[in-house]
Structures are given as structure tokens and as C-alpha cells.
């Protein structure tokens, strides 16, 4: 097995056993990034020289007996919304031309303290305002969208061009591309991971979190990001755990292959000892209204200055949304805030009866790059972007932790994700369930096949 093919946990074990040096690992991952980048366009920029220097430093520290833990010497990517002192934070936008971050974000500091090696910054849909990341291509099929907005991070991890990466998630922007590229993505509880130094799309909905090849890997990254240090235990036994299976919303207008794979995965959870419990998702009629009512005016507020000084530098899609956001009434924003309170309360009541909810992450697998809408069996037509955000945004509104785990492929060979949503601050539970599930799969942690 070549070093870039190793999961984070396996690479860390090999480094700990002195079977692999951070320099060898970083060289291998950089070579892989160079090999695939021309097809996948995951990175805004690769920092090869800096990465090799950081890897050499990590190797020296480890050789001197000063190991910083499992992330020490592990090469990773940061979504290009995350500030790293001295580097531009482009947000994949011409608006940020000439930008240089004057300080590290807290997450960059914590990863640096853990000894992780920064390979480069990964592409985002411009300013995270979209679900496709048009600059990048899906790691499984270059004719398909990467998903977004953390598309570059997901593609890099899926292709072995980064051992893990960070993304941000305002309506599904970690989980959507993770699902579409067959990797694991965790949106932690709102506020658990500090967001200072991370460019905002919508302050009240933004989250930062890891994308990785396995749940175990995501847990290792979360441990470093929270300062917890030690990953959660998991013995694969789910006896006594209650898994909510939605009767409403999450299986409506979902591709048959996606539904079948997720239902089969929930049966595996039952085989591991969990009890499956039907749940009714509350207030589904208002999910999109709350998401838009919060996100759109907040995004416009963030961009107030540059929308007036350099509007022509925004991509047309983002500019139109930002300008229209100026016309949302304060009363509508406050209604969205109050409806969010209702939704949080209703979800808290629902979650009294279960420990996690298991559901599809997205209703359909990766769309073709030229596909803009999907027609469902009931005859309704939905934009691809609206479809991708439909099942992920409730966890942004409620602030609950949500994990996506690969559960197979559809008839076209494209990956399918299952979403596990827990109670706020109960990351341990969603990671326990996700890890127990992935241990039943022989293909857990696999890389994407060579792009078609």
C-alpha cells in the first residue's frame, strides 16, 4: 500500500511504529495531489515546499521523542475560508484578490499545535454560497459535481490528495460533498469548534468540521479541534441504542438507490443491537423558509462593503443572491429566528425518544455538471442545489451534530451517504454509531476509483 492510500489512523500508527516517516507520507500525498489535480482541481494552491519543511520538522520532533499525537506529521487541506497567517484566504473569489491573513484562525492553530502538515487550501463554492463547487470535479467521476461548498476538501480526501481536510457547513456544506465523494464528514454541534478566523457565510448557521476517510479518522481530527485530545471509545456494540428512522421528510423525494442503501444500513445498525424507532420529523414545511430567512440576510450583511465597492468581482450566481438579500425584511428574519426556536424545541422533544436519527445525507448522488434540476417520481421538479440542501439543513437550524458515512454506491457506481444526527453536544453518540457501522464494511476508508 502506498503511503497516500493510508487512512489517518493507519498512517499515524505507521509513524508511531517508525514504519513510515512524515516526510515519506507527505511526499507521497503531494505526488498524488500533483497526479490528480489536473483532473479534479481540488486545490486553490498546493504549498509543497512549506509542507515538506513542516513534515521534516515533525519527523525531527518525533525522532526526538516529542510526539504531539496522532495528527503529528499528517498532511491535510484547509478549505480556503480558513485563515492561516501569511497566506491568502481567497474564498475561491476574485473579491479576495490580494488578501493575506494577518493571523491564524483558532482551528489552524489547533491543527498546527497537533503537528498536522498543511498541504494547501482547497476550493470552496465562492464564499461557501452554493452546493456544487464548480471549480472542482467529483473524485469518482469527473463528469459529476464535487458537491459543495467544501467540494475541494471532499475531493482531495476522496482522491488521496489529502489525508484529511477541514470544511465548513452552513446548510450541508461538509456533509453534501463528503457524501457525493464517498468520504466521512462531520458537522459538529453549533459553537463546539471556534469559528474565529474562518470566513462566514451565515454566522448563526456556520460550523467548522472535518472530512476524512473514516469515522475513526474524523474522531481523531475532532479530538484535536476541540482540545479533547483523546478520541472516543467504540466497541461496535449498539445494544440499547435507539435509532430513529424518519417517517417524514428524509425519505420523501429520494432516489430509490439512495433509499435502499440507507435502509439497508439501518438494518445493519439493528444487527449490531440497536432498536429502530419510527420518528416524525417536526415542522418540515418550514425548514427551507427558516434556512433562507436566516442565511440570506446574514450573508448579505457580511458582504455589505464589497457588494458596494466591487460587485462585479462576484460570480453571477452569488452576486444575485447577495443583492436580493438586501430586500429581505427584518420582520422576516426575526420570524425565521423565532421559527428556529420552535424547531429546536420540537427536535429536542423528538430526540427524547431516540439517541440518533439515521437518514439519507442527500436525496440523489452526484449530478452531472450540466444538470440543474431533478424530476422526482411524484412529478415535482427541484433544483439540484435545493435537493442537496434539503436533508442536511435541519441540523444547521437545530445546531445538532450530524455525521455522514458512506453506505454503498448507486447503479451508476456513485457513492451514497447516510446521515446520523444526534442531540446537541452528543458527538460521542453519532461517532459511536458511525464507527460501529463502518466496522461492518470491508470497503471502509476506500479511496475513489480513478476518475472516469
Amino acid at each position: 500500500m502506498r503511503p497516500f492510500e493510508l487512512t489517518l489512523a493507519d498512517a499515524a500508527a505507521a509513524i508511531r511504529a517508525k514504519d513510515l516517516s512524515p516526510v515519506e507520507l507527505t511526499d507521497s500525498v503531494l505526488a498524488r495531489a500533483e497526479e490528480v489535480e489536473g483532473r479534479l482541481h481540488a486545490f486553490v494552491g498546493v504549498l509543497a515546499e512549506r509542507a515538506r519543511a513542516d513534515a521534516a520538522r515533525a519527523a525531527q520532533e518525533i525522532a526526538a521523542g516529542r510526539s504531539r499525537g496522532p495528527l503529528h506529521g499528517i498532511p491535510m487541506g484547509l478549505k480556503d475560508l480558513v485563515d492561516v497567517k501569511g497566506l491568502p484566504t481567497t474564498a475561491s473569489s476574485a473579491v479576495r484578490e490580494g488578501h493575506v491573513a494577518d493571523a491564524d484562525s483558532t482551528v489552524a492553530t489547533r491543527l498546527a499545535d497537533a503537528g498536522a502538515v498543511l498541504l494547501g487550501k482547497t476550493h470552496t463554492h465562492e464564499f461557501a454560497y452554493g452546493l456544487t463547487t464548480p471549480q472542482s470535479r467529483n473524485a469518482w467521476d469527473t463528469g459529476r459535481v464535487a458537491g459543495g461548498s467544501s467540494g475541494g476538501s471532499a475531493v482531495a480526501v476522496a482522491a488521496g490528495a489529502a489525508t484529511f481536510a477541514l470544511g465548513t457547513d452552513t446548510g450541508g456544506s461538509i456533509r453534501v460533498p463528503a457524501s457525493l465523494n464517498g468520504v466521512v464528514g462531520l458537522k459538529p454541534t453549533y459553537g463546539l469548534i471556534p469559528r474565529d478566523g474562518v470566513t462566514s457565510l451565515s454566522w448563526s448557521l456556520d460550523h467548522v468540521g472535518p472530512l476524512a476517510r473514516t469515522v475513526r479518522d474524523a474522531d481523531l481530527v475532532l479530538a484535536a479541534l476541540t482540545g479533547r485530545g483523546v478520541p472516543y471509545d467504540s466497541d461496535g456494540d449498539l445494544t440499547g441504542l435507539r435509532v430513529g428512522v424518519p417517517r417524514t421528510h428524509y425519505f420523501d423525494r429520494v432516489a430509490p438507490d439512495v433509499e435502499a442503501a440507507v435502509r439497508e444500513a439501518t438494518e445493519r445498525l439493528r444487527d449490531l443491537g440497536a432498536a429502530l424507532v419510527d420518528v416524525e420529523i417536526p415542522l418540515t414545511r418550514y425548514i427551507q423558509a427558516v434556512q433562507w430567512g436566516l442565511m440570506i440576510p446574514e450573508a448579505t450583511a457580511y458582504h455589505e462593503r464589497t457588494l458596494r465597492t466591487t460587485p462585479e468581482l462576484y460570480a453571477p450566481d452569488v452576486r444575485a443572491l447577495l443583492e436580493a438579500g438586501e430586500l429581505v425584511l427584518a420582520g422576516d428574519y426575526l420570524r425565521a429566528q423565532r421559527a428556529r426556536t420552535l424547531m429546536r424545541r420540537a427536535w429536542a422533544r423528538m430526540m427524547e425518544g431516540v439517541d440518533v436519527v439515521a437518514a439519507p445525507t442527500v436525496p440523489l448522488t452526484a449530478a452531472r455538471v450540466d444538470q440543474h434540476s431533478v424530476q422526482w417520481a411524484d412529478g415535482s421538479v427541484e433544483s439540484v442545489s435545493d435537493s442537496y440542501v434539503r436533508l442536511s439543513s435541519p441540523a444547521n437550524i437545530t445546531g445538532a451534530p450530524a455525521l455522514t458515512v458512506p453506505v454503498g454506491q448507486d447503479g451508476a457506481g456513485l457513492p451514497i451517504g447516510m446521515q446520523l444526527i444526534g442531540r446537541p453536544l452528543e458527538e460521542r453518540t453519532v461517532l459511536r454509531v458511525g464507527r460501529a457501522y463502518e466496522e461492518t464494511r470491508t470497503d471502509a476508508g476506500r479511496l475513489a476509483p480513478e476518475p472516469r
Partner: protein
């Protein structure tokens, strides 16, 4: 006509010429929708004069956003406060003298 949805890529492919004000005669505008001249006035009031050629696209986008967000007007909120004034995890009433919820935890909510 307004776009079918808010999909950014759909909007980006929308030719503003296809959204001319002439297509949006007053009788075509729903009672709670903005006409292009109204949207332009609202934008000016917000401090964002719209460049020529952008009014119709922005109007259509704004009306679509409004159609989605205004469904919240169906709800009777009573005394329900906005979410920024409520904790993510319910905090149980505390006995006198017990320490308050740690600041760090509250920040995490």
C-alpha cells in the same frame, strides 16, 4: 418570470434580457411581490443602487426568496423568542447558590 428556484447556477444562466420589466406588467405582479421599480427603490433605500440591467434579475430572485420565507407568516409565535436569545440545550432551573452554567458551555450552545 421569476426563476423556478434559487439554484445559483440556474440564476447564473438566466439571461437578464429574458427578465425584462416589460414582461412584468403591473397586473402580472402578485399583491405581495415587488415590481422591478419597487425593488430598485427598496435597494436604493438599503444603500445599494442596482446597476442598469440588474433590476429584473434581482427582483425575480427577491420575489422568489420572499415566496419561500413568507410561509413563516402562517405561524402563531405567541411568546416564542428568537433563537439567538435561547440556549441550544435546555438549561434546568438551578437551586440558589449553585454555580451558573460555565461560560464555555454556553458559548458551545
Amino acid at each position: 418570470m421569476p426563476p423556478e428556484d434559487l439554484a445559483p447556477e440556474d440564476l447564473s444562466s438566466q439571461d437578464p434580457e429574458d427578465l425584462s420589466s416589460e414582461d412584468l406588467a403591473p397586473e402580472d405582479v402578485a399583491p405581495d411581490e415587488l415590481a422591478p421599480d419597487q425593488a430598485a427603490q427598496w435597494a436604493r433605500r438599503a444603500g445599494l443602487p442596482l446597476e442598469p440591467g440588474r433590476t429584473d434579475l434581482v427582483t425575480a430572485t427577491a420575489n422568489h426568496i420572499h415566496a419561500v420565507v413568507s410561509t413563516l407568516r402562517e405561524l402563531d409565535f405567541g411568546d416564542v423568542p428568537p433563537a439567538f436569545d435561547t440556549p441550544l440545550v435546555p438549561v434546568a432551573p438551578q437551586a440558589p447558590g449553585t454555580p451558573s452554567v460555565p461560560e464555555a458551555r454556553h458559548e458551545a450552545l
